[in-house]
Symmetry: C2
Subunit: 557 residues, 2 copies
């Protein structure tokens, strides 16, 4: 599987045909550069799995060649896998200051900070890895300090956009560097990797400033306390909440661990400006008139253990939502989270709060951090790539992004929609689709990574639906006669005390089955167990239409 | 709990603070009328539960008083619980012809049709139950033949709207009967129960005809086969697909059991007009040029076993989606289903299909069946109720409906937002909030209803996350010495063969624990089991951060 030298290779180890766990790889002449190392949450079919990170077995096979991990920005789908990655492959990490700050917090929690090599770079940095000259350009997104990356190789320039929108009036004045992008395109881009999240959305994503104006209006007109729930990492939005709260003479309380973490990091690194004395804790807030209190809290996605859900349930010890208070959900629900968010809104209304909520951008309290179709076309137009690989999206988004690229003049035969692991090889001015390299999901389950097989997951699925029924029989080694049992134990199937008759008939069935087999002189335990399992399964399905896992335990003495 | 006579009582047994399992009850002077008997699907926390239906224990306690079940229309959230209901309480059912047709199909599947009493009524029917004169009025919705109900009692008139929109240009010319509604309002409505599904949506829901125009345009411009996936029960939309397909010279294939069932019932009862010879089966379609084939299929909500998902996976034996075919998803995704629908769209694009999809009404291929804010205000304005109870919605919808009622002049103190079971009592021109009657969810799990307790569900939750670890030890009755074991069995926890070291350390821990207890002269089995469970749990959490269910089985011989 060793890639030949002097051929460049680009592939994804995560992030295409999915949203989440982004990881892209550039390989050239014996050097491997990794871009991003994200995580994603499992869907409901992966029972008990805590987190999914990229399978990095290809990188481990070529560990001596891996020179660096470059991180485009500090979102979980770009940094969430880093602790698991560095445990296996402790290479230097390169990222901008805020991103490094957020990575540090994460590594500290995993006890890995001491051994990590973290390099702070910025838009004007240049780093050389062997023949690869690496530079950067500033973009913007729903977290500050995002970078696109330019890799100049002897076989051509590869550009990775990171996540971006074109917010031309950004709250923090980190303007997207249009002129540098134009210069990069002018110099010649061989292959562009560009993100596809909003490739289905027509138009141009509105500026984050729009949210600021709505926040200020809502907060200045509120009577009681004001709660704003948003993504902790959206530092520009936090800044706008701070400003709106300050204008209306309110102190600010932070609720939720990630909100406190991000605000600490962002304040320390001067990405967030909070007036002296404005931050107070919940106890201090309780002593103030309610119209002098604003609260910034986590939980805008309806997460059950986050601050907003606990406030809505009346379970937050230090703080309560009272009649007349205003709650602003300044976030869109990520698909799959709508029901949990709705439940929270219901609870907040029941507490008597005014709730500002609504799908997507309808309330003006949220804008996307990703560029819409016109912005994706703008990036393609600036970069004028010879080849194009849409990344960071589910298949339909990659597909729509392909159509956008065609519409701005990219040769359709120069566009590759790839899966994770599909290598795009380039040399001599041409790029082709090469081998499929090992790639996939690694599951984090407790402290282990990747040790959960399909058998275990299939068992969990059966157990979750109908539970388990254990039948224990003690038999004589000498003549196969039954010494005790069958004892029937149920967990997650039916409650034994309420179903004595059912349990009795299972016992009788087991006894009958064993007697039949004895008569037929069947002695092997595997056959006895199989027969017990089959007979009981058949009986329960016929009687109850249920399929619990059935586990016969035979003991000989 | 017997309600006194000459006081009217109205309450929900399902349908408020939720979407689904609608059931409302009117009780007057010893007579009980039940309105609707729906089901809903469990959320992800109710592992293994198939269906939720209303808990009808209150009705069973008063079974001799229950005179009738009146069904407003044929959607699952209004008829899905009927088989379970009639098994317990075999009262006469009243509904319009199409609704009865769909109920018959359902009862046939449950083998209950023979014993049921089904009465077909229509908008001009009048039925008298004791002192309650019951009449109806025509509304429209995303299924034909919907009725609102008027109960005239000596203490005042109670109106139940059923589900409705005001489609003033309905595809089937079943116009909403504005004049009768006006007359009912003019005569005087004491208490109105009106549905709240779209109480959060401003404006007026567009007519179903809008969809027809878009379908016709898309189908007439399509090159290959055309697949349209929609709700089977939306007979008017089916009619529009039939018309558009006929206009462009296509034959029609039906895929999916509920599609075939509904089309059969609707054709038989003359709700659906399909030209002679137009319906063909998949084999016949395979012999036609693709531009002469249209397909109507189930699965617009992304259901894994429905026709659309199987077509998208290439797993439908008799039919395939080929490059150049067009697939139209003519439905909005119900919250919670978005991800499954998106996965299907991804797969269809990968098959090379043109897919017309999109959230809500953005493609013109879907309109809601429920009235928006202006229509809810129109109903309130026509009925001019003295008291108002918003029904059929989650709390925030009921709350928004309350605000709408206030805006058209209903006295705020005459509006009750109730929970399931909250009785509204009325007499002498006044209504008050009374007792909370027994109400709740009954779970259908296999063939059983309501036999799943919280212990069983809690066990399933633990089993689903981390599986089960069983430790079997055979001990001597005489002296407590260990004769065999500990044997360790894992299901859904870890795969034993890959974790021999872990299993060995669990065995050693079990042996050590039992030895310590023997030394301390602890003999009770409950104590031995508790100690084994605690020690192993502690060990596994410390080592792996996992919490499997631990089940020690001790056998004495």
């Amino acid at each position: 599987m060793n890639r030949t030298s002097e051929v460049g290779t680009v592939f994804a180890l995560g992030g295409v045909n999915e949203i989440g766990k982004n990881m892209y790889v550039l390989q050239y002449d014996g050097d491997i550069i990794v871009i991003d190392c994200g995580s994603k949450f499992p869907d409901e079919s992966l029972l008990g799995i805590d987190l999914i990170v990229p399978d990095i077995s290809y990188l481990l096979e070529h560990s001596s060649q891996v020179k660096a991990l470059i991180v485009t920005h500090g979102h979980e789908d770009h940094i969430g896998g880093i602790p698991y990655f560095l445990k296996e492959l402790n290479v230097p990490v390169y990222a901008s200051a805020l991103t490094i700050g957020l990575i540090e917090t994460k590594l500290k929690e995993h006890g890995l900070l001491r051994n990590a090599t973290l390099n702070v770079i910025h838009a004007d940095s240049v780093v050389r890895f062997g023949d690869i000259r690496t530079s950067f350009f500033r973009t913007n997104h729903s977290i500050p300090d995002c970078l696109g990356i330019v890799f100049e190789t002897p076989q051509g320039t590869v550009v990775h956009t990171g996540d971006f929108k074109f917010d031309l009036s950004p709250e923090n004045r980190q303007y997207p560097d249009l002129h540098r992008m134009a210069a990069i395109g002018e110099k010649g881009v061989f292959l562009l990797l560009s993100e596809s999240t909003n490739a289905e959305r027509p138009g141009f994503t509105p500026s984050e400033r729009l949210v600021g104006a709505h926040l200020e209006e809502a907060i200045s007109h509120a009577d009681g306390k004001v709660f704003v729930s948003t993504f902790a990492s959206n530092v520009n939005r936090l800044q706008q909440v701070v400003r709106a709260a300050a204008v209306s003479g309110r102190k600010l309380v932070l609720l939720g661990r990630s909100m406190v973490n991000v605000v600490n990091v962002a304040q320390e690194l001067n990405y967030l400006d909070i007036p002296e004395g404005m931050l107070i804790d919940a106890e201090a807030a309780a002593k103030l008139p309610s119209e002098q209190v604003a609260v910034l809290c986590t939980g805008s996605q309806g997460e059950a253990m986050a601050a907003l859900a606990r406030l809505a349930n009346g379970n937050y010890r230090q703080m309560s939502v009272d009649p007349g208070d205003t709650v602003i959900i300044a976030a869109g629900a990520i698909p799959g989270n709508e029901r949990n968010v709705s439940r929270i809104v219901d609870n907040l209304f029941q507490l008597g709060a005014k709730v500002i909520y609504g799908s997507g951008t309808s309330t003006g309290m949220h804008v996307s951090g990703h560029g819409s179709q016109e912005e994706l076309k703008l990036m393609l137009s600036l970069m004028k790539p010879r080849y194009f690989v849409p990344i960071h999206g589910e298949y339909r988004m990659l597909y729509q992004h392909r159509l956008l690229a065609e519409s701005v003049g990219v040769d359709p035969s120069h566009i590759f929609i790839v899966g994770n692991g599909d290598a795009v090889e380039f040399a001599g001015g041409k790029a082709v689709l090469g081998d499929r390299l090992p790639a996939g999901d690694a599951f984090v389950d407790g402290l282990g990574v990747g040790d959960i097989g399909t058998v275990v997951l299939r068992d969990r699925k059966q157990l979750s639906a109908d539970g388990i029924l254990i039948v224990v029989v003690t038999m004589s080694k000498r003549d196969g006669s039954i010494l005790s049992g069958p004892d029937v134990i149920s967990r997650g199937f039916v409650f034994v005390k309420d179903n004595e008759e059912l349990i009795r008939s299972i016992q009788e069935l087991a006894l009958g089955t064993l007697a039949d087999l004895k008569e037929a002189k069947v002695r092997q335990w595997s056959a006895l167990k199989r027969a017990l399992k089959d007979e009981i399964a058949k009986y329960l399905f016929a009687q109850l239409k249920k399929r619990p896992m059935i586990l016969p335990i035979l003991i000989d003495v």
